[in-house]
Amino acid sequence: MNANQVAERSRILEGLVTFVTRSFMVEASDIDMDKSLIDQGIIDSFGLMEITTFIENTFGAKIQEQDMTREAFGSMNKMATFVYRRKCGEI
């Protein structure tokens, strides 16, 4: 990734963190960015659906049924990368 791409992905991650902290009453420092939010006890499966709706509404990244995997949604970092790649048309 070049500097602009890194900045864009960081902006997406920041937006996701803001949404999760605001919606699920956690501090950013409570979140392990490389672990599943469900495994960390921060959200339940319904929370995951809320995040997908937030992603579609906020970043305009359309999420298909086949996207709903742990590879794409298994951590905050994975979600940010997924959204970035979808927006760029890489996936």
Partner: protein
């Protein structure tokens, strides 16, 4: 000035509450400013973001409903009908405002107040809606509620809006509704949640069952360990049903799109014959078990599972702060002996919950 108010669970104990809403000091990540107002009330960015999400949700709902007619299904929607005022009003909205053909569905968990059952029948009759009741094996259901109440089955942060016992029941409602929708090829699942009970981004979402099931496997595994393999029968949807269905349905919470007070809701459902059941806690209009679930939540977490929802209604001027406080305080704890006996809690469980052997609040 921050107000203190007595706790219904611990008489004589006072707690700090937000001066504007009803969130209390034990609520996760709450902070009070010098005026005693909490950070959630001060979060104007979050409020604007909610409004945007609601507008998007409304547009999406209209788009989905407009496209439904070509499907040719017998029912447009299955509606999770608890018999409470909110789901009753949601049914009215679905039929009268949105013109949907609805299958009303009630999960009878064994604790539905008799008066709530009467309300269900009066409302579906008045609206001319088909209705079915599903009653799970109550011994298994009660084991699930016991486990959810006594053990860390669900993630702590996922219980800020709901008690563990209610979460166990609502999950069962959702799974059963999904199974019905898939079996009958019904494109929408409706429920009577309000904002505060769910975040604004949860108004409309597609129910990707397999992904959701995978996501909740950790809590299901803990539940299996505590209760047994029977939980899979309760909370699972057979592959044959999923594979046969053309697509997953959408879950839609129509009530979140309305700006309406409780008084107005009661007036509207009252016209259809709905009557407020007596003997329930101030936050429920259908389920007797809610009193126990609230008690356990407050005991474990230090705050009511309804604080977030009621605070949202107060901020939106849909309820006064004093009305919200009244609801929180209205807990018929005298029903705990009956409820804990029905759930067959062990003496150790009762002691952990601060209850005497006959289920009275100790001390």
């Amino acid at each position: 000035m921050t107000e203190t108010a007595p706790s219904a669970r611990q008489p004589g104990v006072t707690r700090q509450r937000c001066a504007r809403c009803v969130l209390s000091a034990p609520f996760p990540n709450i902070k009070f400013d010098v005026e005693g107002v909490c950070n959630f009330c001060r979060d104007e960015v979050g409020a604007r973001s909610d409004d945007t999400a609601i507008d998007r949700g409304r547009a999406r709902v209209m788009e989905l409903f407009a496209a439904r007619k070509a499907r040719g299904a017998t029912y447009d929607a299955v509606l999770c009908n608890s018999g409470g005022k909110d789901s009753s009003y949601t049914l009215k909205l679905a039929v009268e405002k949105y013109g949907l053909t609805v299958l009303s569905f009630t999960l009878d968990n064994g604790f539905v107040a008799p008066a709530a059952r009467d309300n269900i029948h009066r409302i579906v009759d008045a609206l001319g809606v088909d209705h079915i009741t599903v009653r799970p094996a109550l011994d298994v259901f009660k084991s699930v509620v016991r486990a959810a109440s006594m053990l860390p089955i669900y993630g702590e942060q996922s219980l800020t809006r709901i008690s563990a016992g209610c979460n166990a029941c609502i999950s069962l409602v959702n799974t059963t509704a999904l199974r019905l929708a898939l079996e009958k090829e019904i494109p929408f699942i409706l429920a009577g949640f309000t904002l505060g009970q769910i975040p604004a981004n949860g108004i409309v979402y597609r129910n990707h069952y397999r992904f959701l099931a995978e996501s909740r496997e950790a809590s299901m595994s803990r539940l299996r360990d505590a209760v047994g393999l029977e939980v899979d029968r309760l909370y699972g949807v057979p592959d044959s049903v999923i594979d046969r269905a053309p697509t997953y349905p959408y879950n839609i919470n129509l009530l979140c799109l309305e700006s309406i007070t409780e008084t107005q809701i009661l007036a509207e459902v009252g016209k259809l014959g709905w009557k407020r059941p007596s003997g329930l806690d101030g936050c429920s209009s259908n389920c007797m078990l809610n009193t126990f679930n609230n008690y356990v939540h407050e005991r474990r977490h230090g705050y009511s599972p309804y604080e977030l929802e009621l605070s949202h209604l107060v901020r939106k001027d849909l309820m006064t702060r004093s009305e919200a406080l009244e609801k929180l305080a209205d807990q018929p704890l005298e029903q705990l002996p009956y409820l804990v006996k029905s759930l067959a809690l062990s003496p150790e469980d009762l002691a952990t919950l601060g209850l005497s052997a006959d289920g009275q609040v100790a001390g």
